[in-house]
């Protein structure tokens, strides 16, 4: 899976946002407000990957969190992206 649109990420006062790039902004007009793990997921999804690979990377980065909790948050976020039409599977 990967993002259906190319996205640029900006960080401002600790808030992370992502917007579609160029012609892709016609497909997605809005702006995603992201926390740090979500921004990491967006960055990973710029290239073809799998939920398992993303989960593995997140578990390494956020070793203090339970893998099950990360899996739940990841599944929710991927579902949101899918609902927005932002995910190619």
């Amino acid at each position: 899976m990967k993002l259906a649109v190319e996205m640029a990420v900006m960080e401002l006062d600790g808030e992370i946002s992502a917007v579609a790039v160029g012609e892709d902004s016609a497909k997605f007009h809005g702006m995603l407000r992201l926390n740090e793990p979500a921004a990491a997921i967006i960055r990973m999804l710029t290239e073809d990957t799998t939920p398992e690979q993303i989960h593995k990377t997140l578990c390494e980065t956020y070793a203090d969190s339970a893998p099950e909790e990360i899996a739940g948050l990841l599944a929710d976020f991927l579902a949101q992206l899918k609902a927005e039409g932002l995910l190619l599977e």
Binding site: A8, L12, S17, V19, V21, S25, H29, M31
Partner: protein, 244 residues
């Protein structure tokens, strides 16, 4: 046709296919040494035609078949806007109005009433003038300066000046006139939407970084206003007092 213009302190050599760009830019001609060159190709004109068609489709309006010379003027400004990003200068869709040496930029989606509002300023506020009524350039340095450009919308309201930008105002229609400060995070989506962003990721990231810098250096306001003369006074009183 080849000529040189000076925009936002940058000398630009333009090599155009049609004369319309030269006529549009006549207030901005210079003899200075060019800092960069713009030379639109027929493919740029074709791209502008496609973009116009797509925009009409998105807005649900009938597409207009614009002539190539006009489309070339758009292509030239798109290229200039891309070059300007490298010089910490951003194209922002909005109407910049000034009184003496202080300017404020009113921005909102098309059709909200930016032009109507700044006309109220021209009628009501002595000494007010339009820096650019549609697509000014904004240099974000130690100071933030808004510059007039030839690309000034249907009304062509513009002046070849650079004026200190003292605020950005997000304009909304309202029954009553009301103005207050807003935060960058609240206004970021509209600020991004109203800014020129290139087609590539690194250019977009550069534009986003500049937008962030702009929003943190200039006060941001939300204005709800009607079309009565008091609207201009409500805005001017608040903006000029905050700037003093």
């Amino acid at each position: 046709m080849e000529f040189k213009i000076r925009l936002a302190g940058v000398n630009i050599a333009v090599s155009s296919i049609y004369d319309e760009v030269f006529r549009l830019c006549r207030d901005y001609l210079t003899d200075g040494v060019p800092d960069c060159c713009i030379s639109p190709a027929p493919a740029d004109i074709a791209l502008e035609r496609v973009k116009n068609m797509r925009e009409a489709e998105t807005e649900g309006i009938a597409p207009v078949e614009y002539p190539a010379p006009y489309l070339e003027t758009l292509a030239v400004y798109r290229r200039i806007a891309a070059q300007m990003l490298e010089r910490d200068t951003l194209l922002l869709h909005g109407a910049a109005v000034a009184v003496k040496d202080r300017a404020w930029l009113f921005t909102a989606p098309s059709g909200t009433g930016k032009t109507t509002h700044i006309r109220l300023w021209l009628d009501q506020i002595e000494g007010s003038y339009v820096v650019n009524g549609d697509k000014p350039l904004i240099h974000i340095g130690e100071d933030v300066t808004v510059y007039g450009t030839p690309w000034a919308g249907k009304e062509g309201m513009q002046k070849n000046v650079g004026v200190k930008l003292c605020g950005i105002v997000f304009l909304e229609r309202g029954a009553e006139n009301r103005i207050g400060r807003t935060t960058l995070l609240q206004s970021l989506p509209l600020l991004i939407q109203q800014s020129y962003r290139p087609n590539d990721k690194s250019g977009t990231e550069k534009a986003l970084a500049l937008i962030g810098k702009l929003g943190s250096r200039v006060p941001l306001y939300r204005l709800q206003c009607n079309m009565r003369p008091e609207a201009a006074w409500t805005a001017y009183r608040k903006l000029s007092t905050d700037t003093d």
